[in-house]
Symmetry: C2
Subunit: 271 residues, 2 copies
DNA sequence: CTAGATTTGTTCGTATGTATC
DNA sequence: TGATACATACGAACAAATCTA
């Protein structure tokens, strides 16, 4: 019944050139069956314009359709799951469910890329310095009343954490202020980049200097800057917001240098 | 010998809260064994500081070590392969080989994220307008003689493509100019972001307007701007380079609007 | 709330293709 | 030219999760 070698169905046994960089012989290799199916399903999601929540055929149907075994289908689906395009649902009416790739998955992926690169935090601030200014302009006039009250609450929280000298809470609260700004933006790329940089600063920064005075000054500056920003946002003054943010980033960058900050590159893969 | 239920070894049957957004019941779910192993191996790569080219134990060894079957190990390795951290090598002395996650994999991942977002190109230019200026400053004085000659060659190529009215070649050549600049930068995050935006403009832009005159003007402007940039780079004048780049991006943005440019969002998943 | 049905998750055994020696 | 070591693929079965009656 079942013929091992080849079947009908949509699969073509395309032989493509696949670079094998570190091996001496960069030869022609048969593309893995599961990878072919992965690509097929991706195209299908794109072509049929599937939306988050839509279901793909279950494993059994896919096995029959592509004429392959369960393990192969599972590998193909696994790839799409890792890419964030699917999630598997078990039970009746289960099966692969289309998902919108989340910002977290892309964040993790970008971190994995940076793990093997030479990243210091001067680079991060070189970017943040301009991106946060663009963000400040972008959200001015777009922040709702609810956003503004949450920003005010965040400042209070930040202030309290500073008083308690709880550095961990200070850091999370400080980055959350900027994350709230992102929520008001309509530029998805800008949002991604700013949130990515925020997450790096939240999760991966360590200070070699323990000087309490400097840390306190840093915290006080942040609260002041955020207060000024909030005022500018309330006044819907984009130029003022941009100017304050620019100054804020300059100061933060200097403080970080003074506190001898660096990234925990050893945590970048796993967190 | 082999006991089905549970084994010693590093695996803990941790039950964690896993959100199931679109399903009614967001219940506790056992984390998939293959996912646990994926995480374990990721930690291992990080902890042992493995470098690209290093080999992991082969499938059989991993099966024994984690006390699970081939299919499970294969799914775990598949995940790491998709993440770009591994590639599989068959044959003697084969096995999973550690790889540095490539910029292309991250690019694809970010595109997959954008597929489900509302992305228009005004957003792209809002970013590019500032990022390319930062890049111009960053690479001034860092461009080698070789870079400069390649930029000059690229300008000649761009000019020729313009004369021939070959829009496809014009577009690839124009973005390549900016990619060459990236090569000279030392800021890996900046490089990634600029190259990502470049690739979007190269692969996914379509023009609704076919007005030849406008396209010719656009092409002529680009060549002029690139020539001016090259001169500024040669003079190692960062301020001039930044000013020219800023003007260049402004113009490009206007041209794109006039030509009624938009993204082929239907190609973003598969290309 | 229980019982059965449905579907994913995992295992074992086996066979085949592929690269190295 | 094998022989070897490894990934790749198949198939049948059972376990676990989850929906529905």
């Amino acid at each position: 019944m079942s013929d091992h070698t080849n079947k009908d169905g949509p699969r073509e046994m395309a032989r493509i050139g696949k670079d094998t960089p570190s091996r001496p012989a960069g030869r022609l290799t048969r593309i893995k069956l599961s990878d072919q199916i992965t690509e097929e399903i991706r195209r299908r999601i794109s072509r049929e314009g599937l939306h988050p929540g839509d279901r793909l055929p279950n494993e059994r149907s896919l096995m029959e359709y592509y004429g392959c075994s369960k393990g192969t289908i599972r590998e193909a689906l696994k790839a799409l799951e890792v890419e964030g395009l699917l999630r598997m649902v078990s039970g009746p009416n289960g099966g692969p469910e289309v998902q919108a790739a989340s910002i977290d998955i892309v964040t993790q992926q970008l971190r994995r890329y940076l793990h093997f690169q030479k990243l210091d935090f001067a680079q991060v601030y070189e970017l943040r310095q301009t991106l946060e200014v663009v963000l400040a302009r972008n959200v001015t006039g777009r922040l709702t009343e609810e956003h503004l009250t949450r920003l005010a609450q965040n400042i209070a929280l930040c202030d309290a954490a500073n008083q308690a000298q709880d550095r961990e809470r200070v850091r999370t609260a400080e980055t959350e202020f900027h994350d709230i700004l992102c929520e008001a933006s309509d530029n998805v790329m800008l949002i991604f980049m700013c949130r990515f940089l925020n997450s790096m600063l939240r999760d991966l920064v360590s200070y070699r200097s323990e000087a309490m005075v400097e840390h306190d000054h840093f915290g006080a500056h942040n609260v002041d800057a955020h207060r000024d920003l909030l005022a500018a946002f309330r006044a819907r003054d984009a130029d003022a917001a941009a100017a304050i943010m620019s100054e804020h980033m300059d100061c933060a960058s200097r403080f970080m240098r003074k506190l001898d900050a660096s990234f925990h590159m050893d945590r970048i893969l796993t967190r």
